[in-house]
Symmetry: C2
Subunit: 319 residues, 2 copies
Amino acid sequence: MVVPSLTLPIALAALTGLLGFIVGAVLQQDASYRNIQSTMANDPYIYQRRQQIFDATMFFTFSLGHDTSQLPDSAHVATLMKYGFPGLDDVHVYRNFVLSYDRRNRIAHWVCEHLESECLTETPATIVQKPAEFLIDSSIPLIFRASQLDYRNSEWIGGHLASPHNYRCDPSKYIETFILPNIAPLSHGLKSKIWTRLEAYIRELTIKCGSVYVYTGPLFMPERITFRNWAIRHQVIGMNTVAVPTHFFKVIIAECKERDDLPYMEGYVLPNADIDNNLELSSFISNIRDIEHFAGLKFYDGARRPQLHHNIQTIDPSL
Amino acid sequence: MVVPSLTLPIALAALTGLLGFIVGAVLQQDASYRNIQSTMANDPYIYQRRQQIFDATMFFTFSLGHDTSQLPDSAHVATLMKYGFPGLDDVHVYRNFVLSYDRRNRIAHWVCEHLESECLTETPATIVQKPAEFLIDSSIPLIFRASQLDYRNSEWIGGHLASPHNYRCDPSKYIETFILPNIAPLSHGLKSKIWTRLEAYIRELTIKCGSVYVYTGPLFMPERITFRNWAIRHQVIGMNTVAVPTHFFKVIIAECKERDDLPYMEGYVLPNADIDNNLELSSFISNIRDIEHFAGLKFYDGARRPQLHHNIQTIDPSL
């Protein structure tokens, strides 16, 4: 008979057809998954929307054991932004920091960096040479850029938000902190005293804890004009009208392993003025909620504890 | 012989397997494509990165005739944002406008709306009732919201950036303009005079042209303090320290069919103060480049022509 000799080939063909269909769909999905992963590694916006994008590409919902909430170690943005984006305006990803740029004020909204003790304790093989000028970031449109010239004829100095001294172990990372979006107008009196002490304290904390995340940015704080009226007033410098912040903030998230599981969080607000160097660093500690209010930013929420202000005593803030 | 009777079934199985593989991959890809399309219709960030996302999901590059640069008519964001996003900070999509929110100042960076003559020429069936209070947008975190109270005890009134009078034909669209992110502190003297005239002029232009896109937003302009020093100074009102802009801008893109193919573009800057109502509207025309500089925004570039300021004469700016 003809029937049995046809049934088997047809069944076989149908099975391989189905198998091929599944393999095709799964491979296509897997390829999409890997490609989106590598695209998001350097694109903060795709990274932020990863769940929606993965959901959209997982139509046949074949699971290859992908955990869409996790990214591989190669995902640069994910590593640096472990504690989230305080804001999403014009985010730029660099080698050692991620920065949100304020096109209206020609300075950063915030800079986020990750300090590790290895880099700070190593003795640098070579002395790194400071670049003669700040570096231009061509990914920012010309009309929104600040320039070296804006700072030159002003009473303000160009201060680093992410400090070059945090990256003495790696010349290319050191040089990168001289890029203009990482520079903001700083009072000479602040920079030479409290600012430098706070940066040194953070490095000390990093050596003690192993791993510290730091968010640094400008603040524009209102002052009382009359009994009921408040106003914000700040200078702008140069042809590019670069805004001079009235204050700066630093929000620190320290992962001190020996202490306990929760990371430890601190906020500082420093006036952009020549302040008395005899003041203790701890007198500039601020409620992170106040920083969020005036900066229009939202910081990581999981690490806030009422004992916060006691903890600092054990780390010696007055160094 | 056995060989020929096996070759055919194996060839058939291999062919259906390959066919199944291709169909599976293509269908998976097509499903991803459609899902991403529908996700981006209301998500401005995914919409902005659509090319990168499509590229990432098109691994096997089977083409089903998808044009990745085009979106279907159902794509709300694409329709409203035909002339692009001036900035990408905290973008919110509403029924009749798209808005970028400035969390630091608790007002919008810009509001983009699309006016069409049909809505303006129709006689409304019912008289729309003003809501008693501004509406709260719960998609904005509480600490970054303005409130009705901030306006109540101040000398400034809550002015609409996208005007409710543009939407008299549709009660739900009319009501939506009362949402707080669309409100900003306006001087009574500006609102009652030039501001209202400029809005009326835009509606007249829409009836004449058929289709007009309008971007409205605040400006914070510096003033000279001493010969070499410039500063920005603006009030903040209420518990939420809502910023009072020193000026407002409007950038208009009119698609006047009878004129020629290029859309026609105009920029206005109005001081947020009680200005002389006898001034002609055309005296507030501003270089769009200056608006871009002070707002930190980037507008559509394809419609700028040197004849711009002549064109306006034919539309009667002094109505």
